[in-house]
Symmetry: D2
Subunit: 336 residues, 4 copies
Amino acid sequence: MIVVIKPHTEEAEIQKLVKFIEGQGLQIHYSQGINSTILGLVGDTQVVDTHKLRSNKIVEKVLRVQEPYKKANRMFHPEDTIIDVAGNKIGEGYVTAIAGPCSVESEEQIVEIARAVKASGAKFLRGGAFKPRTSPYSFQGMGATGLELLLLAKKETGLPIVTELMDLSQLDLFEDVDVIQVGARNMQNFIMLKELGKIDKPILLKRGLSATMSEFLMAAEYIMSGGNEKVILCERGIRTFEKATRNTLDISCVPVLKRKSHLPVIIDPSHATGINWTVESMAKAAVAAGADGVMIEVHNKPEEALCDGDQAITPAEFDHIMNTLKKYADIEGKTI
Amino acid sequence: MIVVIKPHTEEAEIQKLVKFIEGQGLQIHYSQGINSTILGLVGDTQVVDTHKLRSNKIVEKVLRVQEPYKKANRMFHPEDTIIDVAGNKIGEGYVTAIAGPCSVESEEQIVEIARAVKASGAKFLRGGAFKPRTSPYSFQGMGATGLELLLLAKKETGLPIVTELMDLSQLDLFEDVDVIQVGARNMQNFIMLKELGKIDKPILLKRGLSATMSEFLMAAEYIMSGGNEKVILCERGIRTFEKATRNTLDISCVPVLKRKSHLPVIIDPSHATGINWTVESMAKAAVAAGADGVMIEVHNKPEEALCDGDQAITPAEFDHIMNTLKKYADIEGKTI
Amino acid sequence: MIVVIKPHTEEAEIQKLVKFIEGQGLQIHYSQGINSTILGLVGDTQVVDTHKLRSNKIVEKVLRVQEPYKKANRMFHPEDTIIDVAGNKIGEGYVTAIAGPCSVESEEQIVEIARAVKASGAKFLRGGAFKPRTSPYSFQGMGATGLELLLLAKKETGLPIVTELMDLSQLDLFEDVDVIQVGARNMQNFIMLKELGKIDKPILLKRGLSATMSEFLMAAEYIMSGGNEKVILCERGIRTFEKATRNTLDISCVPVLKRKSHLPVIIDPSHATGINWTVESMAKAAVAAGADGVMIEVHNKPEEALCDGDQAITPAEFDHIMNTLKKYADIEGKTI
Amino acid sequence: MIVVIKPHTEEAEIQKLVKFIEGQGLQIHYSQGINSTILGLVGDTQVVDTHKLRSNKIVEKVLRVQEPYKKANRMFHPEDTIIDVAGNKIGEGYVTAIAGPCSVESEEQIVEIARAVKASGAKFLRGGAFKPRTSPYSFQGMGATGLELLLLAKKETGLPIVTELMDLSQLDLFEDVDVIQVGARNMQNFIMLKELGKIDKPILLKRGLSATMSEFLMAAEYIMSGGNEKVILCERGIRTFEKATRNTLDISCVPVLKRKSHLPVIIDPSHATGINWTVESMAKAAVAAGADGVMIEVHNKPEEALCDGDQAITPAEFDHIMNTLKKYADIEGKTI
């Protein structure tokens, strides 16, 4: 960590700050420049409160040299994390497809879709029971009944379940869920993250609408710091000025996150663009960019979907996409 | 609501859609253009699921003509909402100052600050007991003890309390809190919003980091649709590409939100820029733009603050700002 | 085009507006809703000045139903445009690589790189003679001498040249240049676009840092409306809040632009992220997403490059990327 | 400047880099941390090419400690720059109003508006002769005739003229123009900036739609490095995800730019929001925030304006705003 001192600061004041920092167990390297004095802090700088340093009247700037996350950081954990759910793996070397409808709507719907996506090669079934909707007047999901139907579909097909937890009060219902999804709007719900750090279940963490990659990894760190290191990072589009797509898929986060961290990185093309006719090209781009998987919304009757039908594709379209992705996975030498 | 039909669509298919829409109790006005056919939907279009319409294969675009919120909409509620907490009012005609530290740290600290800000004209005391911090390794607030100290400061000074609820599990502890704050990261925590719609207490709702004004008002609508119409909108900076300030204060949301809605609109300059030496100019700009109040972080010893010391100002600086704001409020004919 | 009238407007005033619009040769479809009256404008709405309509006191909103561009619009020009420069094609069905250094630095440098990239399969040589640099104290390019060296490299290798025009005053020097690049910062230099509409040379138009796709296509329309329809659209990253990459590659613009327009769409991964170790994954993603080509910065000695060395790759790395892209092009059934 | 070395780099390689940097006349302070080695560069770091450093294989990161601009930097020029055009001043201590229509449309129009805004207290007349329009099919301004009409209005009223230069080829026509405006889209037209650095006339430089404050000041530096130090910075809204306003007025740039630089900072509320009914509140906010002036679009018949009528206000509205701004200027102790 670098602390830049304001010009014309008296030496005595700098020495006071130096002592304060050394008091936290850090060493200081002192650089006297022409226009500024710079302190290089050496040691475990994660303990340093940068806001506090910045509020010091003699401090011009504080620059972090290292990322503030540890457990999610590849520097301290060079091997790729591969998450295994009953033999279905997510991580480097695999292209894992998670598929299913936005919302569970009925037994018939979820079982039909589950069978179809399994046949096409999906390894996990997704489906929403509790739905975060921007309007209080929209369909809010089937709730506990939806969870039961998902588990029924799991029983029928063997596909492990991925579904979203919207509030900690629902957690008891999630005991048989295989992978708990934290939605984009909850990426910085720190109380939820901490609780999920205490359980032993993979967490599929979606990137917040305007979260930087560094904040995304800090959210993963929140979960991991509690002991649960099974975190799957899922990019689902970020908010920009562009309005032709619902969000902007930040495809470059794939190589960057995978270099900064050892955690699996998957892409959700359906939410990223919100347009079903872009799902194929974006899913292919995800695999080409090195993603460890894709999460795709599939609905047997998109025009009748109770939620987000405009971004869902049909089982037939999903089957076609999976066939293409297999060719891409082959080129990359990955298991799909 | 306007539905644009794709070019070269067969008439029979359009008629099928027309019937489907009419089946929801809406009337249709039909416009045949050169390159496109347009359906104008007339009636209570809030019931219409735009995603579903968009997923229809003959639909090119769906455009909303009216805002999707009702209770927060000035069109259906022309009079300004003024919220009154034991005689302290927030709403049109008033410039209300809410002040206090980022975090409650000790009895001495919170009481000293409460007395100082009251003397300078603040009408509410703010202070964090539960703190949302981006790093799991940072100070997370005093929790329930912090709430007790806030109530103690209220007893000493008579200032009503504003403090943040981070999770519904904490709600029982908030019985004596006067105004519950929903943080920016919880602006779309829909389950929390719904619960807060059932209680009878003003809610200070912070705008999400990348929430549009329309989404902000929809979040207010979530609370209001449950029956609690006492919502205070608080702009606290949005996320942009600019990095010289922590966020970008969207000052134009003041006139726009106040025109679209009847709810009070206040500004939090401290979080908006994250820089204490901009708080004065931004607070003045807020009042000049027509804001109904400001929420300012004040700390007796910013350099020792356990959180966000770089954006806090001292009681003396706060006193100076309040004196200036009084002159501005006078020009605007408002009570401060 | 839809014009929404403010509530409680008197009928006589609406009729005045209706007459004004009909005076421009348009037909009006009139919809009377519960809370609002809507006018549907039918005819050539490109002549309508939406700002003027919005400034009318009885108008609440103006919504465009159709895109404001014509010549760039696939609706009026369904066949893909394929640009041919001496047999080197850019457009649907091809994956065309344009490669070369950020700046021309010497004869030796540019010829060596040209030979290398040609051997690896590049069809065009790029190189900057006039360089837009954010600091006036940085290297500004070799200017006219740089252009001469590029033409020399063309002579040596046969590769057509792509290079950037920074100001119309330089246009005379570009006579032998094959493809003129308009940089991101000039995407809305309307005087330049108009002049380039008068010449008979392909224009590689880079997307502005914060340009929407619609604005990007309107910039192409500026060139095309002058008669020059040979425009190549190049996405090079947009500006977002994310700072881990220099810009954010908007990969979804590939399918969206190709659906809205018939023009070729290529990707510049080097500028999009500004990080050389992401170029390979982003180039692959571009091809997978359906891009018609890639433009890649290659330097024989990146560490000694006079400009942007951090995003350049070596000829050996470029060769490796081209080999991978060939496999991707094969899957897609495209010529590379 | 700080250079962070990658972990596990061999000492010999670091020494090579140290020698290379020292060869540029800089001193190096060397810090050996636990996980990283840091080099502190001391001296005139403006000569250092950070891209080149970043492309070095042993370099992890390069962090700038100081701003890259010199002439625009308050650190090297602590006194405020006040620009004087025939006694009309722009800079600290003044609130200067620049007003006039988007486009010059006729002698009658421009003279009538000029007289009105002068009577209300405007010190400069603005008006567009050459108009940057996003559609090639929109009105493009009157061109040279428009300039003549502006000069005629100047003769009639004595108000100095501010008008936009769209391309260097027009520069000869600007001899009698008092202040040359560089539009937002030309903020990084570096060739234009350099040429304007050679003339002796104030330049009103508009902030680019997605330019950071640092880039904005670098654009000013381009002009100033050529010798012309009379630059007025004008904030006119930045591009964000918010669509309720055309752009987002970044009001916090006022205190930040004025602290980083000695140049005058003014606000253009008309373009910032694009909504005429927000102009008053935004103009007041600008003065409250410390801006040195405002630039406001005024049209005698906004509903008939040939350009941007939706953001223009009438002379009567302008008069009302000026009366309010006078009260604000009084509180701030400034001359209006």
